[in-house]
Symmetry: C2
Subunit: 383 residues, 2 copies
């Protein structure tokens, strides 16, 4: 009997497993507070949905250019001028099937099998798992309170000393699951260090726009070794539309086009028409960010009352990464019981940190304020 | 200066390059006859688009389960009963981001780096290029008039003798670019041979439903080493919606779920709502197939008048694979000139067969009948 390949034996994305279980419970009629998956509770803005409805009437919705509709590539390039004052060439913008598609394309284009790529631990689990499936070795670089829960040059160099040459560095800011942000100086240092050492610098900017104190700085335009990844999923509230983008150095564009033609054909058509309207909706979207901040504050007030008080500084994104070691020594069991018994879904830290994650839980607060309050109530009764 | 990885140096999907060029010419106002890309000219059926419009109003369009909405998985499983009389378990059905997403998942799940996979040459170029990008070695098995333009057990065994053990065999029926179909007996022989030799059998059934003489037979339900790949793109006319599916043996389901969670998160939401209505639209869709047949006949009558008379028997799909060696010894230049000078887009055979493709051109006939006639008129004036 044939068996699955060894290389496909990657970890599950635990948040997605929990989402499936929570979906099944909700389908049975149970009220579940959804703090597990990183997605906004609200749909895409009205103008975006209207653009989709119009395209649905008027367009045949065939394949687009593999790298995306020229008009959308231009809108995305224009966004860099408007939001960061950085000129971006539409020819270097690649529309992708979510940031997920962007990661697959960027990792294949940049890294040979066996290459090592540094990334923060805790961090988004799919980085590690996609890299592994593609034969690339993720090198987890531990971060914590001592590094302000972000990567810095010292930590990267220490990892390289320990694990051998890194062919690339992957930096997320704001980061998942911690919500922390790279300062402009630290980001510049990391990029300069990568340039000096001949490493690709992959900048995951998917939570840009969702920041509470200072805006995040983009790595766009910082040289020929920088790949920027972003998406319409988070700030623009378009998770299920599966649309993201890359900004690539010129040397990678044709390579990524060839990969995209073969691996994806083209990104979803209707989503591309809809996304043309997304950049005009910042007023509405910023109101949503203000609501996330309120949600954050509800959790930051409520969780300590449950004995959960060590929480990474949540400067952006919509996650709290909380030390639950006062309540459990196994966050997987803890989250399972919490879902079963308290009807609150959250994600165990092991998803983000295979080493120390047993002590942590990630709470996603992109839902309704009432749900945050109800979750705290349920948890108080349960703990 | 950093360079793209060697493994990302795959061939372009030439049809997509030509589509981009044809799109650009059309955007300048030129009338181009589009016989290059394999996609229906008509939009998805009315009921499908209506379902999308309703979901757009009512649903927030977030992530779905990584393997797809349970309701859609059930509809797809039901399709196997209705269309082939084969029972399929919804738990073995995986909804994917187009058949493209299905290939990436299936290839990763089945094959280690360095494994060899047999496939017909000529064949769909993305097979070869995805396999290469994932470190798997495609083994082209030449087919032609002598094998009825389809694979058979002898050809597979001969390839294995020459190239070493094959870990899998990929069979498309109806096939792209030839339009040929596996007879039930030949398909059964190939599957049995793979079972005997311990090879995965990957059955690309994306052109099922588009057949002109006898319907194609599905490999679904033929054992624990069979992976079926299909899509809503072709028969259901939903190319730009990027939605396909796999039917997997039980041993691969959890592996593919873990891969899908990490590499794709979930298939596009809106497309999944729309696709729920697709299986009810066969009457309308079969009328479209009847129109393809008329298109085929227009080309089969017209091309010989241009000196193109050796054409693979087009029993299904919507392609003619034609020997153009009477007119050119370089189908790439031929297709470029044809687009520039005659404003007719078609795809050079090198896309499908790196060895003998220089002598062939693929004409896609899923457009309007008037376009087929106009293309023949233009080509007559041009040749």
């Amino acid at each position: 009997m044939l068996r699955p390949s060894k290389r496909s034996d990657v970890a599950s994305f635990i948040a997605m497993d929990i989402m499936r279980e929570a979906n099944a419970l909700a389908a049975e009629g149970r009220s579940i507070m959804r703090l597990e998956v990183g997605q906004p509770a609200l749909a895409a803005p009205e103008a975006v949905r209207r653009a989709a409805a119009e395209a649905l009437e008027k367009d045949r919705l065939g394949y687009t250019d593999a790298l995306g509709q020229p008009a959308l590539k231009e809108r995305i390039a224009g966004h860099y001028k408007a939001a960061y004052g950085v000129a971006a060439d539409p020819a270097q913008v690649i529309v992708t099937a979510g940031s997920s598609g962007g990661f697959v394309l960027a990792f294949l284009a940049c890294f040979e099998p066996g290459a090592k790529v540094g990334l923060a631990e805790p961090g988004y689990p799919a980085y590690r798992n996609i890299l592994k499936a593609l034969g690339i070795e993720p090198v987890g670089i531990p971060i914590g309170p001592e590094t302000g829960w972000q990567l810095n040059v010292e930590a990267v160099r220490a990892a390289e000393k320990k694990h051998g040459r890194l062919a690339g560095l992957l930096v997320a800011s704001p980061a998942n699951p911690t919500g922390t942000i790279q300062s402009p100086a630290s980001l510049a240092d990391l990029i300069a260090d990568c340039e000096e050492k001949g490493r690709w610098f992959i900048s995951d900017e998917i939570y840009h726009g969702i920041t509470y104190e200072t805006p995040a700085v983009s790595a766009c335009g910082r040289g020929d070794h920088v790949v920027v990844i972003n998406s319409f999923s988070k700030y623009y509230c378009m998770t299920g539309w599966r649309l993201g983008w890359l900004v690539l150095p010129p040397a990678l564009v044709r390579t990524v086009e060839r990969l995209a033609q073969n691996l994806f054909i083209s990104p979803p058509s209707l989503s591309q028409f809809a996304a043309l309207e997304a950049f005009g909706e910042c007023e509405e979207l910023d109101r949503r960010v203000a609501a996330y901040r309120k949600n954050r504050d509800i959790l930051l007030e409520g969780l300590p009352q449950l004995g959960i008080s060590e929480i990474a500084p949540a400067e952006g994104a919509f996650y709290l990464y909380a030390d639950v070691s006062g309540l459990t020594d196994n966050s997987i069991d803890f989250c399972r019981d919490m879902l079963e018994e308290a009807s609150v879904a959250a994600t165990p830290g092991l998803d983000f940190d295979p080493v120390r994650g047993r002590r942590f839980v990630r709470f996603s607060y992109a839902g309704a304020a009432a749900d945050m309050e109800e979750a705290i109530r349920r948890l108080k009764a349960w703990v």
